[in-house]
Amino acid sequence: MMSFDPYGNPTYFILLFIALLPLMIGLLYGHRSHIYESIISFVFLLLTFGGPKWKTGIALIIYLVYQICLVWLYSKYRQRADSANKGWVFVVSVILAIIPLAVVKITPAVAHGASSIIGFLGISYLTFKVVQTIMETRDGVIKEFHPILFGQFLLFFPTISSGPIDRYRRFVKDYDSVPTRAKYLDLMEKGVRYIFLGFLYKFLLAYIFGTVMLPTVEHAALQAHGISWALLGVMYTYSMDLFFDFAGYSLFAVGVSYLMGVETPMNFNQPFKSKNIKDFWNRWHMTLSFWFRDFIYMRLVFFMMKHKWFKSRITTANVAYVINMLIMGFWHGETWYYIVYGLFHGFAMVINDSWLRYKKKHQAQIPHNKFTEYFAIFLTFNVVCFSFLIFSGFLNTLWFVPRH
């Protein structure tokens, strides 16, 4: 049987276009068929999780049943008129939702790099969607729960493998309605443009940086041992590859969603133009950083304020930054470089905030002009690229992996 990585090769795109054609004609004429959508979703999920990867397909099905039951039970509890809304029920539910992901992430660290049998491509992104739905149910923002719609939200195939991470309420609003013809034509135009921009990013630029240049600079850096100019080359080349590869993928996911009449949120907004680290996280992997902002950072801050952990609001924010980013580091994987990457960004946020406060206080003395703006962009860019060098794990290969 055929098996594909999503958006991996021309054949995938051709099949995708053929499958989407009836759906697009339908939307153009004001019809949306959930049955047809479910069929093509099923086919494309089968292409991704079937064939030689059928074991991950089974893992996906079990995971799905488990999470739908979990959220369903929690909704039942929460949406009863006389719901006690106990904190511990909520905490236990969230923990139960995270357990499968935790197992998958920890297994390689304790089993010498072996991957867990319950893992599948995209498990972390599904977990984000589940946790967020539980939290919003607790908040009472999600008032109704439809297991089928929730399943379709989780399995929405354009975004299943690596996001962008949509929100349940936003998704359902699009998915359950038909855009007007004028609106859909706009969506199609944008969708096609995003997909082609994605081709440029992923198949040209990411190819040049990742496949052509990166091995050359990595080879040179490995031959040189220790710190070298080539290592600096690795840093920039890897950063460019990471951006164009992921942004390209995200453009495919968003573009295809648009063709299906669903306005999946964008993931990147020219991140290398950021003026500071905070700005960067508002432009880089946006759906992930907003998720962390809304469901980790904000909640941490509220929790710490409610329990009066710290007197100072600044300390509270700083502690929350570091914990937030550290969790993001752990989420990437249980290796020293992901964790250091998380800590690095946590402290970068702390430093960034204190600088902004200092600058505000001394507005009169600190110059602000075009040059300082360019300098800020330059500095942020280099700090970010350095963090990606940590993230890449190349330092691990360079320093700790035996050469044979």
Binding site: M188, V212, H219, R403
Partner: protein, 428 residues
Amino acid sequence: MSVPKRLFKIFGPIILVAILLLAVLLSPFSFGLNHVSKTTEKKAAVSLSPNVLKGRLVKRQALDDGYVPFFGSSEWSRFDPMHPSVLADKYQRNYRPFLLGARGTQSLTQYFVMQSVKKQLTNKKAVFVISPQWFVPHGTRKDAFAYYYSPLQTTDWLQTEQNTEMDRYAAKRLLEMPSGSSDKVLANALTRVAAGLKPTSSQRAYINYKARMLGSEDEFFSKFGISGKNLGKVDHAESQLPANYNYANLDKLAGNIGKQQTTSNSLEISNTFWKTQLRRNYKHLKNSQTKLDYTKSPEFSDFQLVLNQFAKNHTDVMFVIPPINQKWANYTGLSMPMIAQFDKKIRYQLASQGFNNVIDLSEDGDQDYFMTDTIHLGWRGWLAVDQQLNPFLSKKSMTKPQYHLNDEFYTKRWQQLNPKNLKAFEQQ
């Protein structure tokens, strides 16, 4: 705007692009894209770029145009005035070297490089530099092999393999490398070859499809990104040479240049190498090589692949065994008896199978300015090579080489054989 017009605006360009692309890819014409200019050949011959090594078209065209393949590794990047490429160009020899290899290329990589130019090797001459440093206990480094790995050469090889001992061994070695399993279908085909079976018909179809695709990719792109930097170095080196070739004069010149460029250290190592690679670690390296052993390695069987391919194509090959800078060896405690044993073993593998053209310099490491640094030939060393290489390449050989191969060289027993027991091996 009407809906059909709007739709055409959105999808029209895509349809147009799709039609154009299909026309280009499926058409039997190559639109002149497979033309390699003489300048490109000249650049490629000394560029040492991985893409030249991994590609096919540029090498084929250049070798068809009379370039001679010089297989080797890092020594090729030492472009001093006595470098083979410099001498050949300056003194208008009737051959021009096409340098194949760079830091990290060993026998296994070279074997696959040969796959793309089999026709060009047939009944021709070639040069092959054997570095003793390849023959470490683990053999070729996996990351280095991956760096020079070319799927095109793998499919070229799979299309012509005949399930001989050579093919089975090559398949097995490839599967031991991460590169060999980078494509699942190819990996399955390799597993069958290694087990002595033919690839299945669907695997064959895939190999042929892949070969065609990689082949056209090579035709379209392989000429680009070939650096001209080394050609500049060659030109600069030529400008230091006298107009007429005279061995005694050149040898004196080589010694003088060597003396001028090794002023920073007492090991007669070039100043650049000393500054960039050695000075920092110099202290730690004292007696750091006392345990090195080049006499037992899978590389001996990888090297047999190369010999086997040369024999199959009736290539007349000159082998070069470079020495090690004696001063450096003394400092690091490298065992000279071990080097002598290595030399004995490799010479046996060559001679017993009929490879009789060998420039063995393994005992010349103590000559002044023979090596440009620790293990790489330079100045007087290159000139010594040229003394034997020039006649070999310039003159037509009178006799065809007679090779008689022995598959025993693919065994673990040979790889791990102590050179002291050569007699026992011979009697089997």
